[in-house]
């Protein structure tokens, strides 16, 4: 009990000492909290998005075959399908027709995709929830599409895809093949890309190699590559992430530098007096430990909690302008909080530990000097 009481008394004295310079210390906690908030927000957002992508895209096509012309993706002739189907291990090959439609009235970009089930139902579309929200179109409403010939095609909304799936199909419009070809004035028998089903997933790389041998102008994309895309997509080298991390890093360096470069004359005198009235060096180090811990723990707790609220309750509003960019249609989704103890521990060791150490080290130097000489200087 005596040990606990001693710690409480030291904390009491530390907090009183911090309170004497409350303006500076409150500002310090606010800036520190902001640094932790930014780091934790980036960590929570990217980790949850990556985890969500890895779960959702597990059922993505096993292989997509594109054709490249002069370094860019182009339509692929349907005749390629025959030879690809003959490759041992290929279960099925399906052509996909999809593309981007820019709606000049609203300024939004939509992804148009042919739906096999609408084959015998021209004049009908199924739209994503983002499209429905953006165009204020509900079931049975008609949407005008300007074709590449300049005339308009009215398509009736047959259904709206569920709001819960906005993360994958917010901007999607499913149309019949006939309407797709009318809108984009496609007359040739070509597809945007080919989707393959493979009997044994272990053969994916071999089959991809055979396809590029048969058709050197093609590019197969494997499912594991789709998954890896989202693993690397918010890499720390990405421009804005780099800016956020660099900003946080330099802010933290300034905070730590301020502490590590030494104590103010007032703080040194305080240490001298404490030693003169009987405080041990260990007591002073303990006081400085609690000083660093009080500031960094408060900032850590406040920063992490506010980052959690920001990302998972507030839908990451701080990042929204960057993600939204110039786009008009922005998917509305709430991420599942995939938060792990590992992430929180990493953040703790990156923020709390260095600051606390940076507080103790200069104090140790002052605490070991003779109190008389400290008070005289």
């Amino acid at each position: 009990m005596a040990a606990i009481e001693k710690q409480r008394n030291i904390i009491e004295f530390t907090l009183s000492s911090l309170w004497k310079r409350k303006g500076k210390n409150i500002a310090l906690v606010v800036v520190y909290t902001l640094v932790v908030f930014l780091l934790a927000s980036v960590m929570f957002f990217t980790h949850s998005l990556k985890r969500e992508a890895s779960l959702v895209l597990q059922d993505a096509p096993e292989m997509i075959v594109q054709r490249l012309v002069a370094g860019r993706q182009d339509s692929i002739p349907v005749s390629y399908m025959e030879s690809i189907r003959d490759i041992k291990g290929v279960q099925s090959v399906q052509p996909r027709l999809w593309g981007y439609y820019y709606d000049a009235v609203s300024g939004a970009n939509f992804t148009l995709m042919v739906k096999e089930e609408l084959k015998d139902q021209p004049g009908i579309v199924v739209i994503g929830n983002g499209v429905s929200r953006h165009l204020a179109s509900m079931k049975d409403d008609a949407i005008p599409f300007k074709t590449y010939k300049g005339d308009y095609l009215m398509l009736q909304v047959k259904g709206v895809l569920p709001a819960a799936s906005e993360l994958v199909n917010s901007d999607l419009i499913q149309v019949s093949e006939e309407d797709f070809k009318k809108i984009f004035s496609i007359t040739t028998n070509e597809a945007t890309d080919l989707v393959l089903k493979i009997r044994n997933v272990k053969e994916l790389a071999t089959i991809a190699g055979k396809i590029t041998q048969l058709f050197p102008d093609t590019r197969p994309i494997l499912r594991e590559e789709l998954l890896r895309t989202y693993d690397a997509v918010f890499d720390w080298r990405g421009g804005m992430i780099m800016v956020i991390l660099a900003g946080a890093f330099f802010a933290f360096i300034i905070l730590a530098w301020d502490k590590a470069t030494g104590l103010s004359a007032e703080e040194k005198r305080e240490i001298g007096i404490l030693k003169a009235i009987g405080w041990e060096t260990s007591d002073i180090l303990l006081m400085k430990f609690w000083e660093g811990a009080a500031v960094s723990l408060s900032a850590y707790l406040l920063g992490v909690l506010s980052a959690y609220l920001h990302v998972f309750i507030g839908s990451a509003v701080v990042f929204e302008p960057a993600l939204k960019g110039w786009s008009v249609l922005y998917p509305q989704f709430k991420l599942t909080p995939f938060v792990s103890a590992y992430q929180l521990a990493t953040l703790f060791f990156l923020t709390v530990v260095p600051y606390t150490v940076a507080t103790i080290v200069p104090s140790w130097r002052s605490a070991t000097i003779d109190p008389d000489s400290v008070m005289r200087t």
Partner: protein, 102 residues
């Protein structure tokens, strides 16, 4: 009790730790509750043959990053600067960089 600053600080610390625990509990509950929705999204991906998440719609190489190519972001002219904000967040998919080796 709250006359002592140390008590106020320890109460604050305790409240923070409790909130921290509640945060982890909330995350665990939400993971369990959201799992059917995640599976539903996966099913939609399977049925529609979707290859990418719909995070941004401003540029095609950030709408479908896995299907993009290295030239698309610079299609305006060879030395074009990136003018879509999302292009500076979403990095180049690894398989595009490895294409030369295939």
């Amino acid at each position: 009790m709250i006359e002592r600053k140390s008590n106020v600080f320890l109460i604050f610390l305790l409240a923070g730790i409790i909130l921290f625990g509640l945060m982890l509990l909330h995350a665990a509950i939400r993971q369990r509750v959201d799992m059917p929705l995640v599976r539903q999204r996966g099913e939609i991906v399977r049925v529609l043959g979707i290859s990418d998440l719909c995070l941004v719609t401003e540029a095609r190489y950030t709408r479908h990053p896995s299907l993009a190519d290295l030239n698309t972001p610079f299609q305006d002219h060879p030395l074009a600067l990136e003018h879509f904000p999302s292009g500076s967040i979403i990095t180049v998919p690894p398989h595009l960089k490895m294409q030369a080796n295939r």
